[in-house]
Amino acid sequence: MADKILVNGNVAVAHAALAAGVKLGVGYPGTPSTEILETFSAIGGHAQWAPNEKVALEVGIGAAFGAARTIVTMKHVGVNVAADPLFTVAYEKVDGALVIVVADDPGMASSQNEQDSRNYARAAGVVMLEPSTSQEAYDFLGKAIEISERWNVPVFLRLTTRICHSKTVVELKELSKADFEPNYEKNIPERVMVPALARAAHRRIVAKLHEIEAWACEAGSGMTEEKNGDKSMGIITSGIAAVHVYEAAPEAGVLKLNMSYPFPNKVVEEFAAKYDKVVIVEEGDRIIEKDCRMIGVEVVGKPEEFVFGELNVARTKKLIAGDGSPDAPTPKDRPPQLCVGCPHRYSFQVLKDLDAVVTGDIGCYTLGVMPPFEKIDTCVCMGGSIGVGLGLRHVLPDDQARKVVSVIGDSTFMHSGLTGIVDMVYNRPKTGHVVMILDNSITAMTGMQEHPGTGRALDHSPAYQVSVEDVCKGIGVENVAVFDPLKEQEEMKATLKDYLDNDKIGVIIARRACIIALKNLSQRK
């Protein structure tokens, strides 16, 4: 009998990837997805961090074009970054498996929005599987690989926070291995998306999705799961919501959609016909509900209250009862803070002393918004600090414009800060602009992951170290200065003031290692 382990969904996916002989795992760290590649690497898989999710997906696409089994991992907002290649690779033929593992964060435990990746499956025309336990995360990665190779299409495996970070028992079953080796076969019509070829490709992918839907509706495909119940109510659900449903409504009939896209129309119609009333229980957007209405199946959708936050057993009961009243407010949790001794604190003190308007970014330093600093004025997306700062500089009256500073971290700079720097020197604002790179030499917020600027690969082995200052100088930034924010706080402040007062274009790198990363580093040595 296969071994059993008690693991979370991320670890389960990593074990499945190893069992299925995945040749390459690539992604960008992001809670709640990060441990997938860390685990895959730790148990012997080839995993690497890309600078961002777009590059990760492109590398994954190349590997799959080369007939290798590949997984690409990211959090939900990462799909926005990777959306450009995603929408076109959906038309193209992959020879190896290409599985995009995306981790959504309903309730925003650690994210800037709660977008629902199921929309991407529909928008791009990419098959999507949704596990509800660690075992299914394991099994469905195997299924996703089979589907990807059988129809030569990319497949989404959608996890959510509670799948990623809940531990349940996994039986490490044998998964079928590829019966072919990486190899390149020329195929211009299915790989080069110029208009004439893409028009045919679009029709081809839609036809494939119909085939996959028909297969998913066959008994034995494992793509839907039905539990019989009292005739008075049937529930259609997917993902983590399904386990809440089983507990909240033990008497109800349940149709669980293991494949939520393409939508298994026939199975849904047959299920709905058996029940007096069909209720849709879904976390996030109203997607199953709309798909049911599209095929004329009458269903009861969820009250608007349940578009927000994650579900649990109590909320699922309310949802099923059609009770859309707001939940009683829960006492406030203690919010996260910049650590005591965090080097960012010294940089934020400088920004506060100079009364800067700070366009912020995504990372630990976003916590500079908290007292005593309150020195993050905007936060939109990865890399957004620089463009948003430049936009303000272009339109504000000079005295206000001179106060604008963009603040970005080292990993975020590598992810999507470079093009912002190019714009800063190319479309130079009249009052100049200053970008502060708060370089703590690690991807800290997601839990200490390496990036191209740390000089270490995903598994912490030595790698080429991209120099932030050389990149900025190479792009053409006239003033680039590096300071230790703890030891050279005054000098850093004087330089920032000089750049701001004298309309300079400048990058100030405040470099001091994250205190948690330093501890980890010393433990590894």
Partner: protein, 159 residues
């Protein structure tokens, strides 16, 4: 062995070992051959924010999250986190907090999580030896002695 599902919620602040305590209990239940599910919220907890973790074991566990008002035990590592989590406790549920301990009796305040596991072990239908082995399996060897002492101190507490 109990048929009924036992619901335990651990709560505290990032860095106190909330997740470690819940992992230890979950592994012990798993090693005892009991159905087990465990949920936790990571995210920005490393930055000193609130952290909690749910452990559910017994026959027929479905959702990994302890429903509101259904926790049999609420184990709180930091006083400030009692109020935010009190709603999860069942009417006849048991609150176990750091206030039950004399922290000065621990070799390190970092052992509060393990001492509270010791207190909790008095109430659970789990083999204490399995639980102790799980403590060891989840901690570096150099920490075993200190934490075994903390666990046994916890066992001596009447909560």
């Amino acid at each position: 062995m109990s048929k009924k599902v036992t619901n335990v919620v651990f709560a505290g602040i990032g860095g106190q070992g909330v997740l470690k305590a819940s992992d230890i209990l979950a592994d012990a239940a798993f090693a005892s051959g009991i159905e087990i599910k465990k949920a936790e919220v990571h995210g920005m907890s490393q930055r000193g924010g609130s952290v909690s973790s749910d452990v559910r074991f017994g026959e027929g566990v479905l959702s990994p999250m302890v429903p509101e008002g259904k926790a049999d035990y609420l184990v709180v590592l930091d006083e400030t986190q009692v109020e935010p989590n009190a709603g999860c406790l069942a009417e006849d549920g048991k609150l176990i907090t750091v206030n039950h301990l004399d922290v000065s009796k621990l070799q390190s305040p970092k052992c509060v999580n393990i001492a509270l596991l010791g207190v909790l072990s008095n109430f659970l239908d789990l083999d204490v030896e399995i639980l102790k082995n799980s403590v060891k399996a989840n901690l570096a060897e150099k920490l075993h002695e200190m934490n075994m002492a903390a666990f046994e101190y916890g066992q001596s507490i009447e909560a």
